[in-house]
Structures are given as structure tokens and as C-alpha cells.
């Protein structure tokens, strides 16, 4: 009935929600999932979800999740046949892919050569330009100490790390006098994050939409293009919200994006899953940014609109399976949105927070999917990414998806630490986001540090705190004996409108 499992056992060289996502794919494919953990993660959710977990070192990521040697050792010890790197950590590291293959195991991802060719963002820019794909104007060689190439482009510009990813080593520079310190700080951050301080420069395209195209390829030369995602809602050049289809992409532009993506992929011997990222300017021109040769955080958005299981397919093509017609001819249905729930404070520039999760309730029901990496009692550690969970919705069209997301957020309850939920709840009602006509400056221009606490919110919070202090049996908050005030009525109307 069910096909034989692609592998007997598979090691997941990652943690958090993506480790759990891969564990679920393994279970559904009949594969025994083996986790890894640092000393900080001995009781983490991903460890509890796997069949077994191998310790790979102390809490510091550099000595555990980023240690090629430790992960390869764990794979050898546990007798797995394949290794899935997830995203981040070692997922785009060619040396890791090579070490996995040298150990006689299958790396679930493109070949080391592809990771190498595309992992260097500068080399990827050159390769895309050669393939006839438009790139963001800027340098295609490493930036030295001479500021001349930057000044030739004209301010504002973006400095970027050649080894970059996740917004690290990225700096916007608006004037010549800011250039030198920005170059230094970008180089320092890039060196710390990637061990490579090489940077380059691109013209600042603003306003811009950030749109990416999902690719899935097999080892037999077939390539599926699984639609686009809009990732324009960002803070610190990192994505917070993704949706598919993109409200900014016309059928003509979609065809052009797909064609450019196909060319970039064709320039290398690509297989497995990857994403081609583009900026779209106000005229609808698209510019290649980079190609991420791994699973993306936001892959679930594409899974919802296409009905495909991208993670399962990653594993299947890694085992040599060919993509089926279902995948190659997949079409998009309805509208999907992902909101990322992070342990960070949106009222303080989205600064990461830490602490223990004391309340944890996730939404469910029709059209809602939650991929969580924590549960009640989890202690958030400063060593790792503060992503708590991804809340995804799928509905017939964009307005229905927004209404569903609003409902899902109202069902979501997290206590014990600051999260970006206040921002997400604001965003779903923001007129620019609701209209679909927004760009990468949305957070910077419309949120800043968020709206001030309204009198209504303060009064409701006060009522809750007083009632809690007085005990659960309180029938009404007794601190205010006078008759209901006008804004009390207003607050109820607000509450009703939600």
C-alpha cells in the first residue's frame, strides 16, 4: 500500500520548529527520525518528538549545531542513512554537505558544488547576470577599503555580506560620511556570523517588494516552480510575514519571475529545494537578489496553496525519486499567510527577549496550521534563534485569509515572555497591509515602536490585574464603583468588532 521508506533512519541536524517539521515528514514517510541536541536542549521539544537524540556539544551553537565534526559523529553513532540540515546552521555549508557525503551518507539538499556556487552571494550575482537575469545594480566583486565603487553607485546603498543570509552583515548607507563605519560594522558582523567578512554593495531599491520563488528539483533534471511568496514585511532585513500569492505580482511579472528563476537554477546542476529571491521596484521590474539553497522558514505558505509536502519531497528526491506530474504541474489555490511568532519585543525595536514560556495555547480549526518549536515550560535561550512558532492560515482569498489570521491570533495565548504578538495583531488590521499595497518599509514607516497604549487597553488590563489580585471568584472588578464610563462602552464595541 504505502511505498517503502526512502531511508531507514535520518538525522536532523537542527533544532526548534524546523526539526519538528522534519520529524513529522519522517514519520509520515516511515523513517525513524533521530534528533541532535546541545546541552541547552536536552529536554527540548524536538528531542522529545524524535525516536532518539544525540548530544552534540555545549550550548554555544559554534560548538554544537554549527560543529561539522560533532554532527557527523552523531550521524555515525546513530547509524542513519541521511542527514537533513533544516535551515540556518549548517544548511548551506558546502563543507558540511561534503562531510556528509564523505561519511557515506545522503545530504538532503543540493550538492556541495551548488551550495558553493550560490552560497557566495557575489558569485551568485555574477552567475545570474551571465544567465541574463537582471541583478540589483552594484558591484560583482568584493568591496575593498576604497569607497569609490560605492560612491559611483550613488547613495543610498545597501552593504551586504558575500557569505550572508538572515540580514546579518547588512547595512543601509544614506550618505558618504556614514560609509566607513557602516563598512566596518558590516564586516565585523559578517565575520562573526559567517567567518567571512567579505562585503559588496548594491543600489538601494526603495520602495521595493521582496518576492521569492520556490523551486524543487530532482536528480533526473526535472524542475518544479511552485509559485511565489511575498516577504516584504521585514524588520532588521529579516522576514516576519509571508504570503502567497503576492498581491504585487501580476501574471506577466509572475511569468518573468519564473523564467528568471529557471535560468538561475539551470546555471548550476541544481536539485532538491531552493528559493530564488527578488526585489520588485515600483515599475514592476524585478532584480535577482540571491538563491537560498535550502528549505526556507516560510515553505509552509507554499505547501498550503499547492497542497504539496515540500519537506517530504526534499527527502524523496534526495533518495533518488523523480518528481511526479502532480508536483511538476502543481497549481496554486486560495491564499496563504504566515505570521512568525518570535520572542522579541516589538515595542523596543524587536529586540530579542528571553525567559520561560508559562502559558502556551495555539489556535486550531479550519484553515489554520501551527508549526511550533516550543511548548509550555520551554526556557528561551539567548544562544539560538528566538522563533517560537509559525502561525499559518489558508483560505479562499486574501480578505478571508486575513480574517482567519485575526481569529487565529485571538485564539493564540502566550505568557511568560514578550513576543511580537502585539505587532502581529496590529498588522492584521493595518490598512496598508490589508490593502496588499505595502513594501519593505512597512514596519519602519508605519510601526516604529508601535502605537501607544490606549486608555481603553490600560483600563482593561487594570481591570484584569485587579480582578486577579482579588481572586478568581470576583464577579466584577471592585476598584471602580462608579457607573460605566463612556470609553468602557467604546471598548466593548471595539471588542465586538473583533
Amino acid at each position: 500500500m504505502s511505498p517503502p521508506p526512502p531511508f531507514g533512519r535520518l538525522l536532523i541536524a537542527n533544532r526548534g520548529e524546523i526539526a519538528i517539521r522534519i520529524i513529522r515528514a519522517c514519520r509520515e514517510l516511515g523513517i525513524s527520525p533521530i534528533a541532535v541536541h546541545s546541552d541547552a536542549d536536552g529536554e527540548a521539544l524536538h528531542v522529545r518528538a524524535a525516536d532518539q537524540s544525540e548530544r552534540i556539544g555545549p550550548a554555544a551553537a559554534a560548538e554544537s549545531y554549527l560543529s561539522i565534526e560533532a554532527v557527523i559523529d552523531a550521524a555515525r553513532r546513530s547509524g542513519v542513512e541521511a542527514v537533513h540540515p533544516g535551515y540556518g546552521f549548517l544548511s548551506e555549508n558546502p563543507a558540511f554537505a561534503r562531510a556528509v557525503e564523505d561519511a557515506g551518507l545522503v545530504f538532503v539538499g543540493p550538492s556541495a558544488a551548488v551550495l558553493e556556487a550560490l552560497g557566495n552571494k557575489l558569485a551568485a550575482r555574477r552567475s545570474a547576470a551571465e544567465a541574463g537575469v537582471p541583478i540589483v545594480p552594484g558591484t560583482t566583486v568584493a568591496l575593498g577599503d576604497d569607497p569609490e565603487p560605492v560612491e559611483a553607485i550613488g547613495f543610498p546603498v545597501m552593504l551586504k555580506a558575500a557569505a550572508g543570509g538572515g540580514g546579518r552583515g547588512m547595512r543601509r548607507v544614506d550618505a558618504a560620511k556614514e560609509l566607513r563605519p557602516a563598512m566596518d560594522s558590516a564586516r565585523r558582523e559578517a565575520l562573526a556570523a559567517f567567518g567571512d567578512g567579505t562585503i559588496y554593495v548594491e543600489r538601494m531599491i526603495a520602495p521595493a517588494r521582496h518576492v521569492e520563488v520556490q523551486l524543487l528539483g530532482d536528480r533526473h533534471g526535472s524542475l518544479a516552480i511552485l509559485g511565489e511568496r511575498d516577504c516584504s514585511v521585514q524588520r532588521r532585513h529579516q522576514k516576519l510575514v509571508e504570503e502567497s500569492p503576492s498581491p504585487a505580482v501580476s501574471p506577466t511579472l509572475r511569468t518573468a519571475l519564473f523564467e528568471s528563476s529557471r535560468r538561475v537554477a539551470a546555471a548550476v546542476d541544481f536539485h532538491n529545494a531552493a528559493t530564488v529571491e527578488f526585489l520588485i521596484d515600483v515599475e514592476g521590474n524585478h532584480y535577482f537578489l540571491e538563491m537560498n539553497t535550502r528549505l526556507q522558514v516560510e515553505h509552509g505558505v507554499t505547501e498550503l496553496v499547492t497542497g504539496l509536502d515540500i519537506v517530504a519531497w526534499q527527502i524523496r528526491v534526495a533518495a533518488g525519486e523523480a518528481l511526479t506530474a502532480d508536483v511538476l504541474e502543481a497549481s496554486s489555490r486560495g491564499h496563504a499567510i504566515e505570521f512568525r511568532l518570535y520572542a522579541e519585543n516589538p515595542y523596543d525595536d524587536f529586540r530579542p527577549t528571553a525567559g520561560r514560556v508559562t502559558a502556551w495555547r495555539m489556535p486550531d480549526g479550519p484553515g489554520v496550521r501551527v508549526d511550533a518549536g516550543v511548548d509550555r515550560g520551554t526556557e528561551l535561550r539567548p544562544e539560538y534563534d528566538p522563533l517560537l512558532a509559525k502561525v499559518l492560515v489558508h483560505a479562499g482569498d486574501r480578505p478571508a485569509a486575513l480574517a482567519r489570521m485575526r481569529r487565529a491570533l485571538d485564539e493564540t495565548r502566550v505568557g511568560g515572555l514578550e513576543t511580537d504578538a502585539g505587532f502581529l495583531r496590529w498588522l492584521v488590521d493595518d490598512s496598508a497591509f490589508a490593502s496588499g499595497d505595502y513594501d519593505t518599509s512597512l514596519i519602519a514607516s508605519r510601526w516604529v515602536n508601535g502605537p501607544v497604549l490606549t486608555d481603553e487597553e490600560a483600563a482593561l488590563a487594570s481591570a484584569a490585574a485587579v480582578a486577579a489580585r482579588m481572586g478568581a471568584t470576583t464577579e466584577r472588578p471592585e476598584a471602580v464603583p462608579e457607573a460605566e464610563s463612556d470609553w468602557g462602552k467604546q471598548a466593548r464595541r471595539e471588542a465586538l468588532r473583533r
Binding site: R168, E189, A192, A193, A343, E344, Y347, R351, P352, A354, T358, A359, R361, R376, P382, E383, Y384, D385, E411, T412, R413, G415, T419, D420, A421, G422, L424, W426, G450, L453, E456, E457, A458, A459, L460, A461, S462, A463, A464, A465, V466, A467, A468, R469, A472, T474, E475, R476, P477, E478, A479, V480, P481, A483, E484, S485, G488, R492, A495, L496
Partner: protein, 154 residues
């Protein structure tokens, strides 16, 4: 009826009238505020006078004081205002990347004192008020826990 004084961010605040708190899962602090015609989901944490209410995803610190507690708090606050140095503490655990000031430096309010790396991001610690740095208790490369002293300002 107990006469509580409620403050949010130091400001006095009147609780909304006509709303009842109904626990949904008390162990987790999950509750709803209900009035005759509406229901607002909240998470309530804390005890005694210090509470945090999460409303629309926003964490709101609420202090609920009896008259006696208020008098004590006011007294303590006066004492703090008169006391000299301010200790700048780490608000999140992480690795000290750079220390931007030395003992003896005069800093403006909001000036960057050091950079701390946590959750893979560089976070700047700024001066809570203008003053002179009279002690630096950390150095670059050091890992600090939340609440660790970083500087003393005179």
C-alpha cells in the same frame, strides 16, 4: 471593598468597569474579560502587587497597590531618587562584543555603552541617563547573564 491604586508605567489608571475576569486555564493564567456583551482574551501573570496582562498580544505591566503598599512604594522611590549612582544591568543574557566607554567618560542619555550579542543579533546597551562612568564591570568577550551589572553611572 478594598481600595486599590492601579498604575501602568508609573501612571495612575482606572480599571474598566463592568468587566469580569473568567479563568479559562488558571494554571497558565489564560482568562477572558467578559462584560454583558463582549469577551476579550487575556493572559494574566503575577501575584500580590505586580501583574502582567497580555491583551491583543501586548504585555502590559500593571501594579495593583493597597494604600499601605502605595505609601511604602512612594517612600522607597524617594529614597532611590536621592541615592547616587545608577547601576546599568544586562536586560538579556549574551556575549559582550564591544565596550564603548571607559571609567571617567561623561555620557549623554541614550549614548551607546556597549554591544551585546544575543539571539545572534547585536544589541546596544544605552545610558539610562546622562552621567559619568564610575565603574565598568565587564569586558569584550565575556558572557553575561540577565541582571548582571555592566556599568555604574554617577
Amino acid at each position: 471593598m478594598t481600595d486599590y491604586e492601579v498604575r501602568i508605567g508609573g501612571e495612575r489608571c482606572n480599571p474598566a468597569a463592568g468587566w469580569t475576569l473568567v479563568w479559562d486555564d488558571r494554571a497558565q493564567g489564560i482568562a477572558r474579560l467578559v462584560s454583558g456583551t463582549a469577551s476579550v482574551p487575556v493572559v494574566v501573570e503575577g501575584n500580590s502587587s505586580d501583574w502582567v496582562v497580555t491583551l491583543n498580544g501586548r504585555r502590559i505591566g500593571v501594579s495593583v497597590l493597597t494604600r499601605r503598599e502605595r505609601l511604602l512604594a512612594d517612600a522607597a522611590s524617594v529614597e532611590r531618587t536621592h541615592a547616587g549612582p545608577t547601576i546599568v544591568k544586562a536586560t538579556l543574557p549574551g556575549l559582550i562584543v564591544t565596550v564603548a566607554v571607559e571609567v571617567g567618560d561623561e555620557v549623554a542619555e541614550g549614548a551607546t555603552l556597549l554591544t551585546i550579542e544575543a539571539m545572534k543579533m547585536q544589541n546596544e546597551v544605552r545610558a539610562p541617563r546622562a552621567g559619568k562612568v564610575i565603574e565598568v564591570t565587564v569586558a569584550a568577550g565575556q558572557v553575561v547573564a540577565t541582571g548582571a551589572s555592566l556599568f555604574r553611572l554617577e
